[in-house]
């Protein structure tokens, strides 16, 4: 294995697992959903909106992470592709993760959300390093 491919795998594995974690947040985790519903009156519309935000937001970033890690040959829509090339996508991902972590801390940490909190913190740390690397590469 060449040095370059080993380095690529090392970059891609955490991104891939990060993507899986984001899919978990989108599919199963109730933190964002409960937070939104807790702040609004519970109607059919607010439930639909909370569901949309809680599922769509993490999934939007999950797709980008999985795409960059294992299916980089497949093209997404032009504007998303441009977003992925820059640092803005990763900064937005970090903001979403920090928001979820903050909600967990504010609402109360317990045995069910500790793994989510740990996942958010670890992924945020990795993405900060990854973003700095990309930024340095683009602005040497």
């Amino acid at each position: 294995m060449t040095k370059r491919s080993a380095k690529e795998i090392l970059t891609n594995i955490p991104l891939f697992f990060g993507g899986l974690f984001m899919i978990y947040l989108a599919a199963v985790d109730e933190t964002l959903f409960n937070f939104i519903l807790g702040k609004t009156l519970q109607t059919q519309l607010t439930v639909a909106l909370a569901t949309t935000v809680a599922a769509a937001l993490p999934m939007f970033f999950a797709v980008g992470m999985i795409k960059q890690s294992i299916v980089s040959g497949l093209y997404t829509i032009y504007y998303y592709e441009r977003m992925l090339q820059g640092v803005i996508f990763w900064i937005l991902t970090i903001i979403v993760l920090i928001s979820i972590a903050a909600i967990i801390v504010v609402e109360g940490v317990h045995q069910f959300n500790v793994p989510i909190l740990a996942g958010c913190v670890l992924l945020t740390m990795y993405l900060i390093i990854y973003t700095i690397k990309i930024h340095k590469k683009q602005n040497p």
């Binding site: 899919i23 599919a27 639909a48 569901t51 829509i77 317990h110």
Partner: protein, 290 residues
């Protein structure tokens, strides 16, 4: 079509898919039919519950649980309390009076064996006496140990399942019988929880209350959104796949049209295969002679 228009078209199609998913999700949010839900809190007060103030945390958790339902006369919920050690005591029958229930909870005292199966059977009997046929019957079973007397808990759970009971089980501490509790919950359509500390127990009870109270089912709509996002983003791949398929279908169709007709034998008039060189009936050469 120039590339800029194509990009904008892809974006528009993507958003249309997303908006459609959100619209469908709006209509698929359904309110859970909410008939009467009757709940029996079945709490282990065996001797081991006296250790490390477990009984105090159990009381706190039970009171938080009762508070979460905001019981009153107009409430759809009724809660009762059963305490068990080697014997089973019904401390409160199903009621919507929170103060009476809290008084009963404060009476819990630890001491004795663990007759888990008997406790489940008692809850089952009480439901059959007190609950209507359309009421959802739920047991929240808390224990920190292993059943060591009375009826086998799995048998009791099987009977309870037959009566339509759902049993949520909570294992308190590391000495609880995780596998039996998990089996009981799975068997009756409930859920199994572990609470390793007193604080965990309070949070666990609050979570179970949330699960029981939640008035909406939104998982169907959530799945729709989850599927719509990758479709939205991978439209170029989908488009390429579809156009390749169309192209291949066209080629296959054209190939079929290009296929030469089946040759007829000039001698006997029989229709032969396209690739045949000699007639299958008379053996005459099918090649045209110049």
């Amino acid at each position: 079509m120039d590339s800029d228009t194509k990009r904008k078209l892809q974006l528009t199609i993507g958003f249309a898919v997303f908006v459609l998913a959100v619209a469908v999700s709006y209509f698929s949010v359904t309110e859970v039919e909410n008939p009467q839900r009757d709940i029996y809190l079945v709490i282990d007060v065996s001797g081991s519950m006296a250790d490390q103030s477990k009984i105090i945390f159990a009381k706190n958790a039970a009171i938080e649980f009762v508070n979460a339902f905001q019981l009153d006369n107009s409430s759809d919920y009724r809660i009762g309390l059963i305490a068990f050690e080697a014997r089973v005591n019904t401390l409160a029958k199903l009621t919507d009076d929170p103060s009476g229930l809290k008084d009963a909870i404060s009476l819990l005292q630890a001491g004795g064996g663990t007759a888990m199966g008997d406790a489940i059977r008692t809850a089952d009997d009480l439901f059959s006496q007190e609950s209507g046929s359309d009421a959802r019957k739920t047991v929240l079973l808390l224990t920190d140990g292993v059943s060591n007397t009375g009826m086998n808990p799995i048998t009791a759970a099987q009977n309870a399942k037959g009566s339509g009971l759902t049993i949520f089980t909570v294992a308190y501490g590391n000495d609880a019988d995780f596998s039996t509790l998990n089996q009981i919950a799975t068997m009756t359509g409930g859920k199994f929880y572990k609470a390793l500390s007193g604080q965990d127990l309070v949070t666990t009870f609050a979570n179970i209350a949330d699960v029981m109270i939640s008035p909406v089912a939104h998982y169907g709509s959530r799945t729709l959104i989850l599927v719509a996002i990758p479709i939205l983003l991978f439209i170029p791949v989908i488009e390429r796949g579809v156009s390749t398929m169309i192209h291949k279908a066209e080629e296959t169709f054209l190939d079929k049209r290009r296929t030469p007709p089946q040759p007829t034998c000039p001698n006997c008039g029989i229709l032969n295969r396209t690739t045949s060189k000699f007639c299958k009936k008379c053996g005459n050469s099918l090649r045209r002679r110049n």
